[in-house]
């Protein structure tokens, strides 16, 4: 840290404030942040005033600011809506399952990759594992539909050759959650493992050498050194995951949804789309969206606090 301070260029007309001085010194590096900042300002902060719609009787001609106020009417309407409990239950169920099975998957993959000593094989395997991340959900779900179709699908073709009846996988409510979780893991596991792999490389090799000298086996090295060293990373990612528990994955669910699985697949985000954009109840759907955001905010604050107390790791 001290060494880096020493090589800092002395900027001409540098501001007096220490932080600003540092920013000025690294101004070209900071310039790289500009596109992301601009993106956030335009697409994340500027539209935020739209949440006002949740409290208004939105009229096309009066716009968001001009429409008359309605107070908490739409929030009450949602809480009294007969779909409320179903939608909330489905959202929480899908998120909980994704958390339960999807959260440890990248960690396990990273640990497995870490044990591969053949560098070339490791790189190839890692590349293949994170490629699905770049395939959009539209493509993934279309592939699923094709593979699992009761009429032209590969799986059912095999079943029929074996003399078994075809199964409508995408239309079976019992199979909906397993399909959602498995496809989610398939798509995200490789990408998620990258963070853990980066954290793994940061573990001091001396610790492993010392453990080896002490005669520790693979499992005890894993539980006594690797996992404890990864705890801060795991904690941070868990905080993020828990705060997003009401985001069950709009693209994936909306595309995988069929009338046959509606009873288990209608989640907050798909319900917002249907009531808001398709039925034109903008205020009502914004209220639902805002309800979701407030809960997420509360969750992130609480989970962060708990994490800080238990593991001394937190976002802030």
């Amino acid at each position: 840290m001290v060494a880096r301070e020493e090589v800092l260029p002395v900027a001409k007309r540098a501001p007096k404030n220490k932080t600003l001085t540092r920013i000025w010194s690294f101004r070209y590096i900071y310039l790289f942040l500009a596109p992301a900042l601009i993106w956030y300002l335009i697409f994340a902060y500027y539209p935020m005033y739209g949440i006002l719609i949740a409290f208004k009787d939105f009229k096309y001609n009066l716009g968001i600011l001009g429409s008359p106020w309605e107070g908490f009417r739409y929030f009450k309407q949602f809480l009294n809506d007969s779909s409320f409990y179903d939608v909330l239950r489905n959202t929480l169920s899908i998120s909980a399952l994704k958390l339960l099975f999807g959260f440890p998957a990248p960690l396990i993959l990273a640990l497995m990759l870490n044990t591969i000593s053949n560098g070339k094989f490791k790189r190839i395997f890692q590349t293949i594992s994170y490629l699905p991340h770049f395939v959009s959900w539209v493509v993934v779900v279309t592939l699923l539909q094709k593979i699992l179709s009761p009429n032209v699908g590969l799986i059912n073709d095999i079943r029929e050759h074996m003399g078994l009846d075809p199964i409508f996988f995408m239309g079976n409510p019992n199979l909906f959650y397993p399909l959602v979780v498995l496809s989610d893991i398939w798509k995200g596991v490789g990408w998620g493992a990258i963070i853990y792999l980066a954290a793994l490389t940061n573990i001091d090799p001396h610790l492993y050498e010392a453990a080896q000298i002490d005669g520790a086996g693979r499992w005890s090295t894993l539980f006594k050194i690797t996992l404890p060293c990864l705890t801060p990373t795991i904690a941070i990612l868990l905080i993020f995951s828990l705060s997003g528990i009401l985001n069950a994955g709009f693209d994936q669910i909306y595309l995988m949804q069929t009338p046959a699985t509606l009873s288990v697949s209608e989640i907050l985000d798909t319900y917002v789309l249907k009531t808001g954009i398709q039925q034109g109840q903008f205020a009502y759907s914004t209220a639902i969206g805002l309800f979701k955001s407030v809960i997420s905010l509360l969750l992130i604050v609480v989970v962060n606090k708990v994490s800080k107390r238990l593991s001394d790791t937190s976002l802030w």
């Binding site: 096309y60 009066l62 032209v152 239309g171 009338p259 009531t275 398709q278 903008f282």
Partner: protein, 578 residues
């Protein structure tokens, strides 16, 4: 060396960061460029104030002002009629010559209501839009009405006298009750916002027969020795599907057929349930005791649900039917995968695909099924049409006269000839006052329907014409009809349209004191979705529970009280039809 390194870093840093920044900035500003382009177009159009009729300009008057108008066909897949070159095809060139209007057309491949909500909420309404307008109390029509009342649509009233052909569209072929209650609802305070399209010319003969029905693959019927006309009850239909399933029939790739299915999103599985239908024009059903009942509370709904569940459970109906995309459905159609399908006749698509490769599979109309009264289930219409596509203009359109001049011309005799027949001398010739295709051109269009589309011969009649029937105006002799047209005509002949000249009882509910309250309570209820959900429920009991739950929600909203009110009001008049 250190200085040189630093400089190099600086240069490299700048060379990467600046393009990144610029790309972000240009990405943000590309919209505004588009807008300014649009505004340029609009401002070019804004200076036009020529109210003179298009035809007079064409006949040697002043050259009409050149205007580019944006047009949205707000129909899922509505771009199918657009020529590949929207500007330079002969028909568009002629339209431009006469009216000065060039269209910049777009369409959607998503939900129609969703798109309408999006354009109105974001204030990006194209100059001219063609959208569904089935009713002002639900779906797209409700959104259009809200937008009209909230200042998003142009009031056409002051312009109508200047454009007689457009004015005529406002009433021609429109059902009286629809005109009174929906188009001219008191809420509109005498203003006109929508122009009816695809309406008949006022005669019964000109009402379009959509040929909705059940169609079965001819070779399968032949193999089973089944006469399609004999399949006229739900039981016979079920037996046929069982026979097909057991018959081990294959599609063109040698894979097993699906006994029954539909086009995209389950359209139109209701054809399988026509045995429970009747000739109705409202949401109310009269029981044998004379008591009026709201349609969804009828015992028939349970029977329909159980029938569909039976064919689904028996592997007789495509479980994917309700999640079929248009592409998936077309693939099934093109490969003869569906032994029986329910929809319109789909001859247009089949003619380009399956009928070319496997003409022996040509589909035949089943039945028609008999309805509850023992009469054939067929299309029921009032003398005019209730619910149709409409054209509306954006309140922000810079040159409404250009749009109306265009519509007025297309709906003139000359414009219709251009829309349906193309360019005289190139596509057709007049013989005894009637257009006749030039033989080579006809053959080319028959062999390659896309070439007809690209010559500009589909988009005008699909989007901009109303109060008209080409079949009535230019009846074709049998010799002139294509094989596909003959086939379609044969289906229509078996399902003649039933006309009921009454006012729909639906409109009586509008004066019910709790009507608004009822609408608010039911706006987020979706009976059709719940019915589909019930089709796939684990058990019959669960299915019935889903059905009863949604029925109860409508009951709780006051549907029964509303029905009683309608019955009372209907008793006071003799022109009400159920």
């Amino acid at each position: 060396m250190k200085m040189a390194n630093k400089r190099l870093k600086k240069v490299l840093g700048m060379s990467i960061a600046v393009p990144l920044l610029l790309s972000a900035a240009t990405a943000c500003s590309s919209n505004s460029n588009d807008n300014s382009g649009g505004q340029n177009g609009a401002s070019a159009s804004s200076s036009a104030s020529n109210g003179a009729s298009a035809s007079s300009s064409a006949k040697g008057g002043d050259k009409p002002e050149q205007v580019t108008l944006s047009f949205l066909s707000n129909w899922n897949g509505g771009g199918g009629s657009f020529p590949q070159d929207q500007v330079n095809n002969p028909v568009a060139q002629r339209v431009k010559e006469v009216t000065g209007v060039t269209l910049k057309m777009e369409s959607i491949t998503t939900n129609e209501t969703e798109k309408l909500n999006t354009i109105f909420a974001s204030g990006t309404v194209p100059d001219m839009v063609n959208a569904p307008f089935w009713s002002t109390t639900s779906g797209e029509g409700q959104v259009i009405k809200k937008a009209a009342l909230e200042g998003q649509l142009l009031d056409l009233t002051p312009y109508l006298d200047k454009y007689p052909n457009v004015k005529k569209l406002m009433t021609t072929g429109v059902a009286k009750d629809f005109s009174e209650f929906e188009m001219n609802s008191p809420d509109f305070q005498g203003k006109n916002y929508v122009i009816p399209m695809q309406t008949p010319d006022g005669s019964v003969e000109s009402i379009h027969n959509w040929n909705y029905g059940l169609y079965a693959r001819g070779d399968i019927l032949k193999a089973l020795n089944v006469n399609p006309e004999d399949i006229d009850t739900e039981d016979k239909l079920y037996d046929l599907l069982v026979k097909i399933k057991n018959g081990n029939f294959k599609d063109i790739s040698g894979k097993p057929v699906i006994p029954a299915g539909t086009m995209h999103d389950g359209w139109d599985y209701g054809q399988f349930l026509k045995g429970w239908s009747d000739y109705t024009i409202s949401d109310y059903r009269q029981g044998s005791d004379g008591k009026l009942q709201f349609w969804m509370f009828s015992k028939d709904e349970e029977d329909k649900l159980m029938y569909m569940r039976k064919i689904l459970a028996g592997g007789l109906f495509d479980p994917e039917a309700f999640s079929n995309t248009d592409t998936m459905a077309n693939e099934k159609l093109a490969t003869g995968k569906l032994a029986v399908f329910a929809a319109q006749d789909m001859v247009g698509q089949l003619d380009k695909t399956l009928y070319k490769t496997n003409p022996e599979m040509q589909y035949e109309l089943l039945g028609p099924l008999k309805n509850k009264s023992g009469k054939i289930a067929t299309q029921v219409e009032k003398p005019g049409r209730s619910g149709f596509p409409v054209i509306f203009l954006s309140a922000k359109i810079k040159n409404p006269d250009a749009a109306l001049r265009f519509l007025d011309y297309i709906n003139s005799d000359e414009g219709r000839l251009l829309a349906y027949w193309g360019i005289e001398g190139k596509d057709y010739q007049m013989e005894n006052g009637k257009p006749k295709w030039i033989p080579d051109v006809k053959q080319k269009y028959d062999n390659d329907p896309d070439s007809k589309r690209d010559a500009g011969l589909n988009y005008l009649n699909a989007n901009f014409i109303g109060g008209f029937s080409s079949d009535v105006t230019w009846p074709k002799s049998e010799d002139e009809k294509t094989k596909a047209e003959k086939l379609q005509a044969s289906f229509s002949a078996k399902m003649p349209i039933q006309v009921i000249d009454k006012v729909s009882a639906n409109y009586l509910a509008w004066s019910w004191p709790k009507w608004k309250q009822y609408q608010d309570a039911t706006v987020s209820l979706n009976y059709a979705d719940e019915f589909k959900k019930a089709l796939f429920a684990k058990s019959d009991d669960q299915a019935l529970k889903i059905l009863h739950d949604i029925q109860d929600k409508y009951r709780a909203a006051g549907a029964e009280e509303m029905t009683d009110y309608v019955a009372q009001e209907a008793a006071k008049r003799d022109d009400i039809g159920f």
